[in-house]
C-alpha cells in the first residue's frame, strides 16, 4: 500500500458464482420490462397484460367443499406420490375433454404435466440440442419461446395472417431450413384463438398444414389452451384429430378450470410419449397428486360443461367491450385482430411507434399491456402490443383503452417531433 492510496480493496460481485453459470443462463438478468410489470399488479393499473383467467367466476365455495371431501375421503392417495404419467382416472377424463375437439385418444396415450408449460419444456428437453431449428408462428407464445430458448433452440418465425399460419410461408421456411443443410425439429403452433395474435387457423388450411408437415417429416406440436373458449359455434376440430402420428397435442385446465392447479397434459405418438414420461420423471418425479385428483373430482362431480359455457359468455362480453373501445378511442392509424375466442387482441400501433418504449408512459398513465417484442425470438415486433381482456370487467377495459389511446397519441406526437422509433 502506498501512502497516497486507500487500503487495497478486493472486488465484490455479490454473486460468488459468477463465471460458473451455464451459457443458457447468460440472458437471465434483471429487466426494466419485468420491473414495469411489478407496477401493473397494483389495482390502480388497468392491466391488459397478463393472460390470467377470471377464476373468480368459479363457484369457489362449491370447489372448496369438493376439495374438503376429496381430502376426507381420498386424502391418503391425494397426498401421496403417483406415477410420472399421471393419475389414470384423470387421464380418462382428459380423453373425454379432448373428444369435444374430435380427438380419439386412449388414457394410456396421455401424459399429465404441470400446466402445458411443462409439456413445452419436456418437448424441448427431448428434441432440442443447442442450435436446433424450431418453427413457430410470427408472433408466438412467449412461454414457448422461453422454453425453447432455455434449450438454446434456433427459433424461426413463420408468417400468419387473419386465417392463422400461412401454408406458403411454412413451405418456404422448411425449404430455407433444408437449403441451409438443417432440419427443423418441430413446428410449434397455437391454432385456436392464438396467443398473442388472437387469430384462428382457418378450417381450410388445417389439412394443408398437416400435409406440408407430413411431407417434410416435420412433427407438429399443437398447443391448444383456448380451444373450448370459442365464442361462435362448436369447438374447432383439432389437428391431432386428423394426424395422430404426426401431432403432439398439448392441453390444459388453466383456462377451463383453474390456472392455480397447474394441470395440463400432452398426447403424443407412442415413442415420444415414452420419452416424455421418462423426462417428466427426471424433472419432477411425479406431478402433484393433490392437483390431479382435484381436477379429476371437479370433472367427475361438477357441471364443468356449464362452467365452460359461463366462461365463454364472460369472455365474449369482455372481447366485445375491448373491440368497442378500440373502435371508438384509439387513433385511426391503429389496427387490431378480432378474436373469435380466447383472451387476446393483437394491436398494431401506428408506424414509428414502439410498444416496448411506450410501456413506461403507459404504466405512468395506469394501463398495462405486453409489448410485442416478447413474442418474437429476435425481439422484433415492437410495433405490436398484446391486449388481454380476460381479467378486467368491461368498464375497466373501456377505461384502460381510453388511457392507452391517450398514451398512443402522446407517442405519435413524439414520433412527429423526433422521428420514428426503432421497431425492436
Amino acid at each position: 500500500m502506498t501512502p497516497e492510496q486507500q487500503p487495497i480493496s478486493q472486488p465484490q460481485r455479490i454473486d460468488r458464482y459468477v463465471g460458473q453459470y451455464a451459457e443458457r443462463a447468460v440472458g437471465m438478468v434483471a429487466s426494466e420490462i419485468r420491473a414495469l410489470f411489478a407496477v401493473a399488479a397494483r389495482p390502480e393499473i388497468v392491466s391488459l397484460a397478463g393472460g390470467s383467467p377470471y377464476v373468480a367466476a368459479l363457484p369457489l365455495d362449491v370447489v372448496g367443499d369438493m376439495i374438503g371431501q376429496l381430502i376426507a375421503g381420498q386424502g391418503a392417495t391425494a397426498l401421496q406420490y403417483c406415477t410420472a404419467q399421471g393419475d389414470a382416472g384423470l387421464r380418462e377424463r382428459i380423453c373425454d375433454v379432448m373428444a369435444l375437439e374430435e380427438i380419439r385418444a386412449h388414457p394410456d396415450e396421455v401424459v399429465v404435466t404441470v400446466g402445458s408449460q411443462q409439456a413445452l419444456d419436456l418437448m424441448a428437453r427431448i428434441f432440442i440440442d443447442p442450435g436446433d431449428v424450431v418453427l413457430v408462428e410470427a408472433p408466438s407464445y412467449v412461454g414457448a419461446l422461453g422454453a425453447f430458448a432455455s434449450y438454446q433452440a434456433d427459433v424461426v418465425h413463420v408468417a400468419m395472417d387473419d386465417d392463422g399460419l400461412i401454408p406458403e410461408a411454412l413451405e418456404e421456411a422448411i425449404r430455407r431450413t433444408t437449403a441451409a443443410g438443417r432440419r427443423a425439429k418441430f413446428l410449434y403452433t397455437v391454432p385456436n384463438y392464438h396467443n398473442p395474435a388472437g387469430v384462428t387457423l382457418a378450417a381450410g388450411r388445417r389439412h394443408r398444414i398437416l400435409d406440408i408437415c407430413h411431407r417434410a417429416g416435420l412433427l407438429v406440436v399443437e398447443d391448444n389452451p383456448y380451444g373450448l373458449l370459442g365464442f361462435d359455434g362448436e369447438p374447432m376440430r383439432a389437428l391431432r384429430a386428423d394426424d395422430a402420428d404426426g401431432v403432439v397435442y398439448l392441453g390444459t385446465f388453466s383456462k377451463t378450470f383453474a390456472a392455480g392447479v397447474r394441470v395440463g397434459w400432452a398426447v403424443a405418438p407412442t415413442a415420444i410419449r415414452e420419452k416424455l414420461i421418462l423426462a417428466a420423471e427426471s424433472a419432477v418425479l411425479c406431478h402433484s397428486s393433490f392437483s390431479q385428483l382435484t381436477v379429476r373430482e371437479y370433472l367427475n362431480t361438477q357441471p364443468w360443461h356449464e362452467q365452460v359455457k359461463d366462461f365463454r359468455e364472460l369472455y365474449r362480453e369482455r372481447r366485445d367491450a375491448t373491440l368497442r373501445a378500440l373502435a371508438g378511442m384509439v387513433p385511426s392509424e391503429c389496427h387490431w385482430t378480432r378474436p373469435a375466442g380466447g383472451f387476446y387482441v393483437w394491436l398494431r400501433l401506428p408506424d414509428g411507434i414502439n410498444s416496448k418504449a411506450m410501456l413506461p408512459r403507459a404504466i405512468s398513465s395506469r394501463v398495462a399491456y405486453v409489448p410485442g417484442t416478447g413474442f418474437y425470438a429476435d425481439g422484433s415486433g415492437g410495433q405490436y402490443a398484446r391486449l388481454c381482456y380476460s381479467l378486467p370487467d368491461p368498464d375497466r377495459i373501456g377505461e384502460g383503452i381510453r388511457r392507452l389511446a391517450a398514451v398512443i397519441e402522446t407517442e405519435m406526437q413524439l414520433r412527429d417531433d423526433f422521428g420514428p422509433m426503432s421497431a425492436s
Binding site: Q10, Q12, R13, I14, R42, P43, P360, Q413
Partner: protein, 317 residues
C-alpha cells in the same frame, strides 16, 4: 434494548422502481429481524392511512424509491399523521429528487457538476426537436448523458456518443418523465458515497466504486447480482477519497437532508470529482451500494437501521 415496538417499512409505490423498492423493503425488514426488531412491510396504497391511524408505529422506515417515495409526498403525509420516520423531511426531498434543482443548489455551494440543460417535452415540440438538439450538441458537445429530471435506477437514462443517437435517447427519457436533464458525459470512475448521521452530524461512508461488467451501469447491471463489481473502499488516491467524502457531506448539508443519503459522483481522469445526483431513499437491496458501504465501515446494516429508527422515534413527528 430499543423502544421500537411497532415498525413499518414502507415499500412498493407506483413508480417504475416498485420492484426495486419491494426488494429494498424486504431486505430492511429482514436485517431488522436479525437485529431483533420485528417490522412489517406496507405499501403506499389506499389501506396505508387507516393502518397507520389504527395502530400508530413507533417509527417508519421509508424505502419507496422514485415518485411518491423520494419526492417528499409520502413523508408529507407521515408528517400530517404525526408519525416519526427515518430520513429527510418532505421539503428537502423535493429539492433533492428534482435533479436540476439539486444541481443548481450544489453548484451554488461550489460543487462541480457537469454542464447541463433541462428541457421539457413541450420545448422540443414547440421549437422543433432537430433545432433544439443541434443547439444542445453545439453548446454541450459530445458525449452526453440523458436522464429524466426525476427518477432513479437509471430508468430512461443513457449515454449518447453521437448526435444521431441523441433523439432516441431523449425519446427513451421522455417515456419515464416529461422533462429531460441532458448533461455533458464525464468519463471516469463511478462512485457512490453514502452519508449517515447517527447523532454526531453527517459522516461519509467509504466511497463505493462501481465497475459494470460490460457497458453502462444500467438497470440490469444494478439489479443482477454479479453483473457489476464493487470496490469498497473505491480505488482512489486518499486526497480524492477525502474530496468525494467532503462533496457527499456538502450535498447532504446544502440540501438540508437528514439521517442518510447517497451521492453519486464521477471522478474524472484528472482526479476531479463531479457531483451527479443525490438520493434520499437509497437502494437497500443485496446489490445496492449503501449497505455495502455500511458493512465495510463497521456499521452493521441491521444495527444501523435500528439506530436510525431509534433516532426517528426519539425525535418524534
Amino acid at each position: 434494548m430499543s423502544d421500537l415496538e411497532r415498525i413499518v417499512v414502507l415499500a412498493g409505490g407506483l413508480s417504475p422502481e416498485r420492484e426495486v423498492s419491494l426488494r429494498s423493503g424486504d431486505r430492511v425488514r429482514d436485517v431488522l429481524a436479525e437485529a431483533g426488531i420485528h417490522a412489517v412491510v406496507a405499501d403506499a396504497d389506499a389501506a396505508l392511512l387507516s393502518m397507520l391511524r389504527a395502530d400508530p408505529p413507533s417509527a417508519v422506515f421509508p424505502a419507496i424509491h422514485g415518485v411518491c417515495g423520494e419526492d417528499g409526498a409520502i413523508r408529507e403525509v407521515l408528517g400530517l399523521l404525526g408519525v416519526p420516520y427515518v430520513g429527510s423531511v418532505a421539503s428537502a426531498c423535493q429539492m433533492a429528487f428534482d435533479k436540476p434543482t439539486a444541481k443548481a443548489l450544489t453548484t451554488a455551494a461550489g460543487l462541480a457538476t457537469p454542464p447541463s440543460v433541462t428541457l421539457p417535452r413541450e420545448t422540443f415540440h414547440d421549437l422543433g426537436a432537430t433545432a433544439v438538439i443541434d443547439l444542445i450538441v453545439a453548446r454541450l458537445g459530445l458525449p452526453l448523458y440523458v436522464k429524466p429530471s426525476r427518477g432513479g435506477s437509471a430508468l430512461g437514462a443513457g449515454a449518447v456518443r453521437t448526435a444521431a443517437d441523441l433523439p432516441a435517447a431523449v425519446l427513451s427519457c421522455f417515456a419515464y418523465g416529461d422533462t429531460a436533464l441532458i448533461e455533458r458525459f464525464i468519463s471516469g470512475t463511478e462512485v457512490a458515497v453514502g452519508v449517515i448521521d447517527l447523532g454526531q452530524g453527517p459522516q461519509a461512508l467509504p466511497a463505493v466504486e462501481i465497475v459494470p461488467g460490460e457497458g453502462e451501469y444500467d438497470y440490469a447491471a444494478r439489479y443482477t447480482a454479479g453483473k457489476t463489481e464493487f470496490y469498497v473502499p473505491a480505488r482512489l488516491p486518499a486526497t480524492v477519497a477525502d474530496d468525494v467524502a467532503r462533496i457527499a457531506i456538502a450535498a447532504h448539508t446544502v440540501l438540508g437532508l437528514r439521517d442518510l443519503s447517497r451521492t453519486d459522483l464521477i471522478v474524472d481522469a484528472d482526479g476531479t470529482p463531479w457531483f451527479l445526483e443525490v438520493n434520499v431513499a437509497p437502494g437497500m437491496t443485496e446489490t445496492s451500494t449503501l449497505p455495502l458501504a455500511l458493512e465495510a465501515s463497521g456499521h452493521p446494516f441491521g444495527r444501523t437501521c435500528v439506530r436510525l429508527l431509534e433516532q426517528a422515534a426519539a425525535r418524534g413527528a
